[in-house]
């Protein structure tokens, strides 16, 4: 797992940090002993200045411990920040690799993921600072205790260890409770967010009662998760308190006899009680209160992160395509085994240099066809070939270089126009890029942006949907792809600009597949695939006009008819 791997990479830093924490444990180790000495040799012996002297030693030790803690914090940055870097890296990679799945995270999901990373950062620091300090304190105090009252050592140490073990056993159920709580919170926020965001629709359809019911169901779940969590927390508190208190009672029960027998001095009893009441008990309580909360937050955030960015499963093999003919044989695909297939038994061969238009109502599976041809989506039955070999077994680099998809939603990033245009052709010359820009009719746009050196902001800031699509088209035009798929890639352009883009790609050479937003695309293509939910129909525009009533209807409905004057 990424987190543990990253932790392992930081083991040097962690070892240094733990080294300093030994210093931090010194006060806990010596406090009881020094208080005991101050009383035994000083105050109880009638020599107060000797007692003050021992107390000053205690002060010096406390300063030393404080310095240790300071050093721990100074080193913390060197461990935590690289760890956070590694997590961010993993998450970003995971999210971007998940692109081939059907579900895509939205902006709020991205924000949530970022928050989880910050929780992991803070909680890891919390574990390294608090949990470590408390464990060091407990251990040091127990060692000091054992050294002070060696004859009673096991009597006082065993209950503490038993409590710690029991506490460890409780952790998994606590983590489950915490996870339920986080999920309930997120779910409530998400349901309420949907309702508030859609309040226009909620009101318009008279669904206020429905919305309130939905939100309150989540709020009630949230409340009951909180209370259930509190029961677990209370139990944890009892276990820890007993573990801290039992040794004290055992010590006080066995001490009188030993004091009478002269095997235990005043200072030793006092020292032991000081260890237990000022170091062990507070440390244990801290462990129960803060630390377990921190650990739980950490565990839950890590699990949510793992869900947000699932492990990457690369697709590909070592097959080398011969040419770039695209072939589909008996291809069937549906979103699940039970759902109606989106594409059923599709046969299609596109020789090199074909120009295909795919038409049909939106949502009927045209985009899925693009996913199948690019190898992003695996058919349930049948095979998709590229250059005579199954597309998903082609060497990934070759597949990505030779098949290009231009989707409806454009990808522009903050950077220069050149960086954006040369994404698929990093070594392309300025002249080649400008030629691509001119071919798709984006020259004016690029000039307005300040030429190739101009900049593009976040989310293509300042560009309209159509302008962003023009840049995306120019980018693929400049690439070396043999097969270009325009998946409603010109939907935000006006019909004239759309024609310019399509004609540019048709004249560019190679195979062109246009998933049509407008029926005019069909008129420009050599071959038309009609998908309408039934068996797909394939033919030229004139063939289909002659043989398919459906196609005739489509065209008739679309083509502008004269207006009665």
């Amino acid at each position: 797992m990424a987190y543990l791997r990253a932790l392992r990479e930081q083991r040097r830093g962690i070892v240094v940090l733990l080294g300093w924490s030994v210093l931090e444990g010194v006060p806990a180790l010596l406090s009881g002993r020094l208080v005991g000495l101050a009383v035994d040799r000083g105050f109880a012996a009638g020599r107060p200045w000797v007692g003050v002297g021992w107390l000053l030693v205690l002060a010096a030790v406390a300063v030393l411990g404080g310095f240790g803690l300071r050093q721990v914090f100074m080193r913390l940055g060197a461990v935590i920040e690289p760890l956070r870097d590694a997590l961010v890296r993993e998450v970003v990679r995971g999210v971007l690799h998940a692109g081939s799945h059907t579900r895509q995270p939205d902006a709020s999901a991205v924000a949530r993921i970022t928050r989880h990373v910050e929780v992991v950062r803070d909680a890891t620091a919390g574990v390294l600072v608090q949990a470590r300090a408390l464990l060091v304190t407990t251990a040091a105090a127990l060692v000091g205790l054992a050294a002070t009252v060696s004859s009673l050592a096991w009597l006082v140490i065993l209950p503490v260890i038993a409590a710690l073990v029991l506490f460890g056993l409780l952790l998994p159920s606590l983590a489950r409770g915490q996870r339920r709580l986080v999920m309930a919170d997120e779910q409530a926020a998400s349901v309420a967010g949907t309702a508030f965001l859609g309040v226009r629709d909620v009101v318009a359809v008279g669904g206020s009662g429905h919305a309130l019911r939905d939100v309150m169901a989540q709020v009630d779940r949230q409340a009951s998760a909180t209370v259930r969590m509190a029961f677990a927390t209370a139990l944890r508190g009892v276990v820890i308190a007993l573990g801290g208190f039992a040794p004290l009672v055992l010590l006080l029960l066995s001490a009188p006899g030993m004091v009478r027998a002269g095997t235990l001095t005043t200072g030793e009893v006092l020292g032991a009680v000081v260890y237990l009441s000022t170091s062990v008990q507070p440390a244990l309580r801290g462990l129960a209160d803060t630390t377990s909360t921190v650990v739980l937050r950490l565990v839950v955030a890590l699990r949510r992160l793992a869900e947000a960015a699932p492990p990457i499963a690369p697709v590909g093999g070592d097959a080398v395509p011969d040419g770039y003919e695209v072939g589909l044989r008996g291809v069937t695909f549906g979103w699940s085994a039970s759902a109606e297939p989106v594409v059923r038994s599709l046969d299609l061969v596109l020789p090199e240099g074909s120009h295909l238009a795919v038409v049909g109502p939106s949502g009927i599976g045209k985009s899925t066809l693009a996913g199948l041809v690019t190898g992003l989506v695996e058919p349930q039955a049948g095979v998709v070939c590229f250059g005579g070999v199954p597309v998903r077994s082609v060497v990934p680099e070759v597949r990505h270089e030779r098949i290009a998809l231009v989707p409806q939603e454009t990808y522009l990033f903050t950077g220069t126009v050149r960086e954006n245009l040369a994404l698929f052709a990093p070594s392309a010359s300025d002249a080649a890029l400008l030629e691509a820009v001119a071919a798709v009719g984006a020259s004016d746009l690029v000039a307005r942006l300040g030429g190739l050196a101009g900049t593009v902001g976040h989310a293509g800031g300042g560009l309209s949907g159509g302008e962003a699509q023009l840049l995306a088209a120019a980018r693929v035009y400049a690439s070396a792809a043999d097969v270009v798929i325009l998946d409603e890639a010109t939907s935000s352009l006006d019909p004239a600009a759309e024609a310019v883009v399509e004609q540019a790609f048709a004249a560019r050479g190679g195979t062109l597949i246009v998933i049509a937003h407008r029926l005019s695309s069909a008129l420009r293509a050599d071959l038309v695939l009609l998908m309408d939910g039934g068996p797909p129909l394939l033919g030229s525009h004139t063939d289909l006009l002659a043989t398919s009533a459906l196609y005739r209807d489509l065209m008739a409905a679309w083509q502008p008819t004269p207006i009665a004057r």
Binding site: V35, A38, F43, P48, V52, L55, A59, A62, G65, G66, F67, V72, R84, R89, V92, L96, H97, A98, G99, D106, A195, F196, L197, G198, V199, R200, D201, A204, V205, A211, L212, V215, Q222, T226, A230, G237, V238, A241, L248, L252, P256, T266, V269, L270, S277, T278, G334, W335, S336, P361, S362, G363, P396, H400, L405, F413, G415, A557, I563, R565
Partner: protein
């Protein structure tokens, strides 16, 4: 507001009642421990002394456990009550939303939770004060000098803790800024996920997103260093106070005023007294609860618009007289007979959506009268599909059965899409991949399923290709025959099919008449681009 939360659930009294013996036990424990130690040092085993100690500890442990559960339950119930009030009020405020959705959610999840815990906070604060006073009193009872030494060191404590709250603003600001930059870059890349997946550039694009990461690291390291300098001072606080009081106690032992056990008791009370310093956060929390309560109050005190709108007319008829909506409509008169198909056209910003909204009952005119006969089915260009599953989103706000939902989806030409989803009609909305056109058709189905007397379609077929649009139109005519239809559109073809067209220009009715008659006007043709 906070008072009402406290008054509503009187269990805070129980919490306080439970906390009192716990506090008392906590205050008595150091002396009980002292006498037990003195007993042990004297070589005696006195059952009563030990039992007293164990009893006090038992009261504290059990009481704490009860307190935890009680506090959580009080907070949870208070928060849930506030959340219900808030949700009810936000929904009653309706459209247009007075509070942005993200902001409303943060008030619902964050502020309600904080304000809901106010009773527990107040009890905790009271108990803290009580404990501190008790600890100082106990020290004074042991030896007044101890109390004096302790009280003298407290201002010092406060000073050090205050300095702990100062953080270097520069690093924090940089850290937040770079985090935001990273998120923005990630959102950009997520928007282009299909491009990235198809081109196999996930790794390279991840690197691009991560470019500002080193700056984030540097700021983070800076924050830790600042903390190190502060922690170091704060960490010396307790030992310093402990030593001062211990020294005073030592002299008390020498002078015979205190026993050895009393030294332990002293340490115990110092710890209890210092514990209050840590409770200073309770005051901050109370401050936050008040701020949260104000944010809730801001919502709850926003007046709800009156209901009972629009007025009644004969079934299927729509009548507007002198209707004005500030910034959108001016003195609009319009009568739509039952069963008519009316297209509303105009350039963008001419008031088409406002006209749809007053007819649909979504917006209230500032002047004039709107009357509508019977229920309305309202669909939008960009519908917000609320609901848990696809079927739930269609039947939202009604209790119609599955067959009605399927029939409506068939009429809206979206049934074929729904059955191809992973779980068909039971697919959760969050797991339903949907294009703009598909969402629009579900929005249409949601309007159809209500079997309304009047259909208001506000550009609700804009993302559909014209074939689908005309199929939907035919399906509506057969599924919902004779319904009045008010259709906002940009398409000449739709306007041509309408019985008559209402042409809006700058919030006023420019003309009403059949499309063919209006078409002669150049400006009218310009409306369609």
């Amino acid at each position: 507001m906070l008072l009402s939360v406290v008054r509503r659930d009187p269990r805070w009294l129980l919490l306080a009642l439970n906390a009192l013996p716990v506090t008392a036990a906590g205050l008595l424990l150091p002396t009980a421990l002292a006498s037990a130690v003195d007993m042990a040092l004297a070589g005696r085993l006195d059952g009563g002394t030990v039992l007293w100690l164990v009893g006090l500890a038992g009261v504290e442990v059990l009481g704490d456990a009860i307190g935890v559960v009680l506090a959580a339950s009080i907070t949870a119930r208070g928060a849930a009550w506030l959340r219900r009030r808030l949700t009810e009020h936000l929904l009653a405020l309706g459209h247009p939303a007075r509070f942005e959705a993200g902001d409303a959610v943060s008030r619902l999840t964050g502020d309600s939770g904080i304000a809901g815990g106010v009773a527990v906070l107040v009890v905790d604060l009271g108990i803290s004060a009580l404990t501190a006073a008790g600890a100082v009193t106990a020290l004074a009872l042991l030896d007044w000098r101890l109390a004096v030494v302790f009280l003298l060191s407290v201002p010092l404590a406060a000073l050090l803790v205050r300095s702990h709250l100062r953080l270097t603003a520069a690093d924090v600001a940089t850290y937040q800024e770079v985090s935001g930059e990273l998120s923005a870059r990630l959102v950009d890349a997520v928007g282009g996920l299909r491009t990235i997946a198809a081109s196999g550039r996930a790794d390279q694009e991840a690197e691009r997103v991560l470019r500002p990461l080193p700056r984030l690291s540097a700021a983070g390291v800076g924050m830790w260093h600042t903390q190190a300098r502060m922690i170091w001072r704060a960490g010396l606080l307790l030992p310093a106070v402990e030593l001062a009081v211990l020294t005073a106690a030592g002299f008390g032992v020498v002078a015979g005023r205190l026993s050895v056990g009393d030294v332990l008791a002293t340490l115990g009370y110092v710890a209890l007294g210092m514990g209050v310093v840590g409770q200073a956060t309770l005051l901050t929390a109370l401050q936050r609860a008040r701020a949260s309560a104000e944010r809730l109050e801001e919502v709850l005190s926003t007046p709800v618009p009156p209901t009972g709108f629009p007025g009644y007319a004969a079934s299927g008829e729509v009548e507007l007289s002198g209707v004005s909506v500030p910034g959108a409509l001016h003195d609009v008169d319009l009568t739509v007979p039952a069963g008519a198909f009316v297209a509303v056209v105009g350039r963008s910003g001419s008031g088409k959506s406002a006209l749809a909204a007053v007819i649909g009952g979504l917006a209230r005119p500032s002047a004039g009268r709107v009357r509508r006969g019977g229920s309305v089915g309202y669909a939008f260009e960009r519908p917000a599909l609320v609901g848990t599953t696809v079927a739930d989103a269609v039947r939202y706000g009604t209790s119609l059965d599955h067959d009605d939902v399927v029939a409506a989806c068939r009429a809206a030409q979206v049934h074929d899409v729904v059955v191809r989803l992973p779980e068909g009609y039971r697919t959760p909305m969050s797991a339903a991949p949907m294009s703009g056109g598909e969402a629009q058709r579900l929005g249409l189905a949601r309007a159809f399923v209500r079997d309304p007397a009047v259909l208001v379609l506000d550009d609700a077929t804009a993302s559909l290709d014209m074939v689908t649009e005309s199929t939907v139109e035919r399906a509506v005519e057969s599924a919902l025959p004779g319904r009045t239809r008010v259709v906002v559109t940009h398409r000449a073809a739709t306007a041509r099919r309408a019985d008559f067209v209402v042409w809006l220009d700058d919030g006023r009715v420019r003309a009403v008449g059949p499309h063919a008659d209006l078409w002669d006007d150049d400006e009218y043709r310009a409306v369609f681009g």
